[in-house]
């Protein structure tokens, strides 16, 4: 029992540390054992140093399969300089300070941006979480902004059996009766669009933010999404594909969120005032 308790965390930590290594030729060369370096897959990472003209992988075999797979593995190669190549050959075990962010760089947006093994399922999981949250949260926000009169129509102020807030339909068709919620965009299709927009916004911090940040982004983001959608579609013009109210909104929101996460990571030492605020915020 004692052995299990002592060994299991060690094994777990070792596995986690290994999985945190980025899939770059630099770390493969430094940390992967000899036998693993000789595998045919690793030969795809062979790059010559501009100064020493040495290969970054000392042991490699040429297989025909490598030549086929070569273009597929190139995304894992990161920009390198001559100094970095110099470090490889001297086997300095220097861990790149932003290695985890390198992994995160290729992650997000479900499958498409699940570019690394470590974050592939994380991207899908967060996307599902965002979708579930938006499906439940969007109708409430839609009702709220509808009652503000943005959509240029008389708004019923009560909730009841006969008014528009009773039914939720799959899509917002023009043939729906004027007294139903779908005539005002309160439908599942728009909820899914809100989820897509939030997934776009969260993808910029995927791998650097957790469930709490996801929840905050969803709550505030859906409010802004619906306000933006109603203003654009009812007051300004048309956006047939959702380029503006889904992707542009989510993209700029994600850009600002990423900047805030960057500032948070860059400031590990907190002031007394910030510490007190952090206590209340989680």
């Amino acid at each position: 029992m004692i052995l299990q308790r002592s060994l299991l965390p060690v094994i777990f930590i070792v596995i986690l540390n290994y999985s945190d290594e980025p899939l770059s030729s630099r770390n493969l060369c430094q940390t992967v054992p000899h036998q693993r370096r000789c595998s045919s897959r690793r030969t795809a990472f062979r790059v010559r140093c501009p100064q020493t003209q040495k290969s970054n992988l000392r042991h490699h075999h040429d297989h025909h399969s490598d030549r086929i797979l070569l273009p597929l593995w190139f995304p894992f190669l990161h920009p390198r300089t001559a100094d970095q190549c110099h470090l490889y050959h001297h086997h300095h075990r220097i861990r790149y300070p932003h290695s985890r962010r390198y992994l995160s760089e290729y992650s997000g947006f479900g499958l498409v941006f699940g570019y690394t093994k470590r974050l592939a399922w994380s991207g899908i999981g967060f996307n599902l979480f965002i979708t579930a949250f938006c499906l439940e949260f969007y109708p409430l926000i839609n009702d709220f902004w509808t009652k503000t009169g943005i959509q240029r129509d008389n708004v019923q102020l009560d909730f009841g059996y006969s008014n528009r807030y009773y039914n939720l339909y799959l899509s917002n068709r023009e043939t729906t009766p004027a007294g139903t919620a779908t005539a005002y965009g309160n439908c599942i299709a728009n909820a899914m669009k809100a989820a897509l927009s939030m997934a776009v916004a969260f993808s910029s911090v995927l791998g650097r933010a957790g469930q709490l940040e996801c929840l905050i982004i969803n709550i505030i983001g859906v409010i802004g999404f619906e306000l933006n959608r109603q203003i654009i579609q009812e007051r300004i013009g048309s956006d047939s594909f959702g380029t503006f109210f889904i992707f542009t909104y989510g993209g700029f929101m994600g850009l600002v969120l990423g900047l805030f996460c960057y500032f948070r990571e860059r400031k590990p030492e907190y002031t007394i005032k910030e510490q007190s605020l952090r206590k209340y915020n989680g």
Binding site: F74, Y106, G185, I220, D239, G251, R278, G282
Partner: protein, 199 residues
């Protein structure tokens, strides 16, 4: 990476459904229900080619990430103006330019920041934010062209061309960008005050 290729395949197959918009624009003209998805498919293909071209120019080899992102870039850039595109060449031009710009940004600006540790976005910020800006500019141009030369093919009852001028496409882009930045500041300020979550 295989997941991302699989996801790109899904997006290529399913993204055009977003442009159907049977909700609001089905009565604009006779062909709006199927022309917009078709333009999107063309633009996605052109976006892949454009981004891979810039990837080859910058790196000397192909990066799959540029291809998958170029696909989405082409779709986003064309999507907002897909109702007003009456010639498939317009969609190809827009998608190709969006893909090239996406490849240039990813291989120059983002790589410059990554090499110096200035990573503030794990997924390309240019893919959605900048491509939205490009989509606003192009859709304004295509709408102007449709208003000037091809207005007769749009239904007289449709409000897409009649009620709003081409400048409103640009306004919509600016409003979305402002909203995104504003609500991003609000959410980001709260996130900044939270601690890291360890599990």
């Amino acid at each position: 990476m295989l997941f991302s290729l699989l996801g790109a395949l899904f997006i290529f197959a399913l993204f055009p459904f977003l442009a159907y918009e049977i909700d609001a624009y089905i009565f604009q003209n006779k062909f709006s229900t199927y022309v917009s998805p078709l333009m999107l498919i063309l633009a996605m293909g052109a976006g892949i080619i454009g981004s891979l071209c810039s990837s080859l120019l910058f790196n000397g080899y192909l990066i799959v990430r540029d291809g998958t992102h170029g696909l989405i870039a082409g779709a986003i850039a064309v999507g907002s103006g897909s109702l007003y595109i009456v010639n498939p060449t317009y969609a190809l031009i827009t998608g190709f330019i969006a893909g090239v710009i996406q490849g240039i940004i990813q291989n120059s600006l983002e790589r410059y920041g990554i090499s110096r540790g200035y990573i503030f976005s794990t997924v390309s910020w240019s893919l959605f934010a900048i491509q939205g800006f490009i989509g606003g500019c192009f859709s304004a141009g295509w709408k102007r062209l449709a208003n000037d030369k091809y207005s007769y093919i749009f239904s007289s009852t449709g409000s897409v061309l009649k009620n709003y001028g081409e400048q409103y496409q640009f306004y919509a882009m600016l409003v979305s960008a402002g909203m995104g930045i504003g609500f991003g500041l609000l959410a980001g300020a709260i996130i900044y005050l939270t601690n890291f979550q360890y599990s």
